[in-house]
């Protein structure tokens, strides 16, 4: 009985929430609204899936928020200032994400800097770095460069489509690209972590690094890969952000980081996993999205939203740690 409560408690809570909002918020129960909830959590959800990979190997990545905003600036810079096309911009961003992840991994694994400190340092570094090329200005088509000239490039329509195009799905123009990307990445990382040898080994590294090492696993490589995955996912989040906003915004990305970490931690409680897992992370992100959009539709003021997010996180962590430990005893 207690076991069932732990396994399905969170999913039941989610179902209850959806039922509650459907009754009390007009317009909540519609396909458009459902798709929109996915869209609102797509970017933090993608970041959360990336950070899940680092949590799996027993690490942590505080730099994802700033990787995402740096990637957004890089995409804007590539197109507006360097006048490149959408493909180049996307590849440029992915390369930055992979490079940052690689550097994070090397610093943590070979320089033996604790993960929180290394990625904290990287976070500050990126917040500063993204401002250097434009001397602190946001990037938009037609902007004035520090030397007084006007940037000639524009956001290419193909790139903007990543943020604005919608696929037909039962209804015309229903599914935005970002939601499709979120779902595809969630499936990919879920399959990768649960069903491939590589993913299972990452869990092994996370649960007992020494045992994994003695068993002959290349622990260092697995850990570095986890940070590279996290960096790439964060840069994908940044690409989608740039495509939605249509410009490169100066931003620290701290809120993205916090929301993503919250989603990944809430994910521990889903299905009583009590460990980082991709399915849980996706449900966690969705849970936060349902709550926030429902509350906004009911005209709840903004400060209640942070309160609710925090409360959900605390409840989820209690689920994870107290309840699941008790049942194990």
């Amino acid at each position: 009985m207690a076991d069932t409560a732990i396994r399905f408690g969170f999913l039941a809570l989610l179902a209850g929430l959806i039922a509650f909002f459907s009754v009390s918020a007009p317009g909540f129960l519609s396909p458009q609204s459902a798709v929109f909830i996915f869209q609102s959590v797509a970017i933090t959800g993608i970041l959360a899936l990336g950070v899940t990979a680092t949590l799996v190997v027993g690490g942590f990545d505080l730099s994802i928020g700033s990787v995402a905003t740096s990637s957004m600036m890089a995409a804007a810079y590539a197109m507006v200032v360097l006048e490149q096309n959408a493909l180049v911009a996307v590849l440029f961003c992915l390369a930055i994400g992979a490079l940052v992840g690689l550097v994070n991994g090397i610093i943590i694994v070979y320089m033996r800097v604790p993960d929180l400190l290394a990625t904290l340092g990287m976070m500050f570094l990126l917040v500063g770095l993204q401002r250097i090329p434009t001397e602190g200005r946001s990037i938009a088509a037609g902007m004035t460069m520090p030397d007084g000239s006007t940037a000639a490039g524009t956001f290419s329509p193909a790139f903007l489509a990543l943020g604005r195009h919608r696929f037909d799905f039962f209804l015309p123009n229903l599914l935005p690209v970002s939601v499709v990307v979120l779902l595809v990445l969630a499936l990919l990382i879920w399959f990768f972590l649960e069903y491939t040898r590589f993913g299972r080994m990452m869990y092994a590294v996370g649960s007992n690094e020494r045992a994994a090492e003695l068993a002959g696993a290349p622990v260092k490589a697995y850990k570095i890969w986890a940070y590279v995955i996290s960096g790439i996912f964060a840069s994908i989040g940044g690409i989608l952000l740039a495509a939605r906003l249509g410009r490169g915004d100066i931003a620290s990305g701290n809120n993205l980081l916090l929301d993503a970490v919250a989603a990944a931690l809430i994910g521990f409680a889903v299905l009583g996993a009590a460990k980082p897992n991709a399915f849980g992370t996706a449900i966690g992100a969705l849970f936060v999205g349902v709550l926030l959009q429902g509350l906004t539709m009911m005209n709840a003021p903004y400060y209640t939203q942070d309160f609710v997010k925090g409360a959900v996180l605390v409840v989820a962590l209690v689920f994870t740690f107290a309840l699941s430990n008790r049942s194990r005893r």
Binding site: F28, A140, L241, L245, A251, G253, L292, Q293
Partner: protein
């Protein structure tokens, strides 16, 4: 009508340019600006990141350069205690004048008094240091909100359903909120059906998520009042995504190059914004300080008037960025505030 007025003002400008064709020479200026290289002023900043503050700084630099004075920039990066220390640092540097840009009344009041006691002239921008010796430079947030709302009433009549974006506790937004309340009282036909807002960054993205829920729940909203451009950007994204660009009009405050592009997109719902040019505010800050140094009185509060910018203005004159906006809307490029005859105009 407007053409003649514009032509007329251009003639006026040309005449003025002719009169002052030779840049004001140092010896034409009152002491201590007859020897401007010896004059040192400091800009002590609380906020510095973002386009607004970048443009403000460029205005300060331009006016300081036009005067020929030595400018030091001290940036506390949102550290209130450090900002107060920096005023003391400026006093120790032996500056003649200090501009305090933003900050908290509690932390800056005493530091500002110490500077005044040391015989230094001080002006404050957007922070009230409660000192009669220190003129306040202000962009009038009430006027900003009033201009945008008057345009909304002109476009939509006196009765409409409104969505309002607001976060309490931010001084300029609170002042804009006062005007919004006055308007709602004055026009009972204005019905605020939803209020939302957040400052989670990237702000535009977070506001877009909220606005999307709001327009889904209230598809009959006609006007969105978003008196901060990041809010307006977010609302526009949501309105576009919901396919409601035809039925909702967005009115905002502030402007940037990115905002101009967003307002000019075909079918854009963002129809008007009221803005003060941050570079002009920077210039006025330096000019008010220079007047104090020359023994003149700029007044206890120096208000930089805002300009209404409509989508029609931008499209009609094909304005693509802030520079073209300054060039084509002269009232945006220069404010005739704190402008005694001897003051060099940095735009010329």
């Amino acid at each position: 009508m407007s053409i003649t007025r514009r032509t007329f003002s251009r003639l006026g400008l040309a005449a003025a340019a002719g009169l002052f064709a030779a840049p004001a020479l140092a010896q034409d200026m009152p002491a201590p600006f007859d020897n401007p290289g010896e004059v040192k002023i400091a800009l002590v900043r609380y906020l510095s990141t973002g386009d607004f503050f970048q443009a403000y700084l460029s205005g300060v630099e331009a006016q300081a350069k036009a005067l020929g004075v030595d400018l030091r920039v001290l940036d506390s990066r949102q550290d209130a205690a450090l900002q107060a220390d920096m005023v003391d640092q400026a006093i120790a540097l032996g500056v003649d004048g200090i501009i305090i840009q933003h900050g908290l009344t509690e932390s800056m009041k005493e530091a500002a008094q110490r500077a005044v006691d040391a015989g230094i002239k001080v002006v404050a921008f957007d922070v009230n240091v409660e000192n009669p010796a220190i003129p306040q430079i202000e962009q009038s947030d009430r006027d900003l909100a009033r201009l945008a709302l008057e345009q909304a009433v002109a476009d939509n009549g006196e009765a409409w359903k409104a969505g309002y974006v607001y976060v309490a506790g931010i001084a300029p937004l609170d002042r804009r909120d006062e005007t919004w309340r006055e308007f709602k009282a004055k026009y009972p036909g204005i019905n605020e059906v939803a209020m939302f807002g957040t400052l989670d960054n990237p702000i535009a993205n977070s506001v877009a998520n909220q606005a999307r829920s709001v327009v889904t729940a209230n598809p009959d909203i006609q006007v969105m009042f978003a008196p901060y451009d990041e809010f307006a950007k977010g609302v526009k994204i949501a309105v576009d995504e919901a396919g409601l660009s035809d039925s909702i009009k967005i009115y905002s405050a502030d402007i940037s190059t990115a905002d101009i592009a967003a307002m000019r997109e075909p079918g854009s719902a963002w129809v008007a914004t009221a803005a003060t040019n941050p570079a002009v505010v920077g210039q006025v800050s330096v000019r008010a300080l220079a007047m104090l140094l020359a023994g003149e009185e700029p007044g206890a509060s120096v208000i930089v008037p805002p300009t209404l910018i409509t989508q029609a203005d931008l499209n009609g004159q094909d304005i693509k960025n802030m520079e073209e906006l300054s060039a084509k809307l002269p009232q945006f490029a220069h404010a005739d505030v704190a402008m005694p005859a001897w003051m060099p105009n940095p735009n010329e």
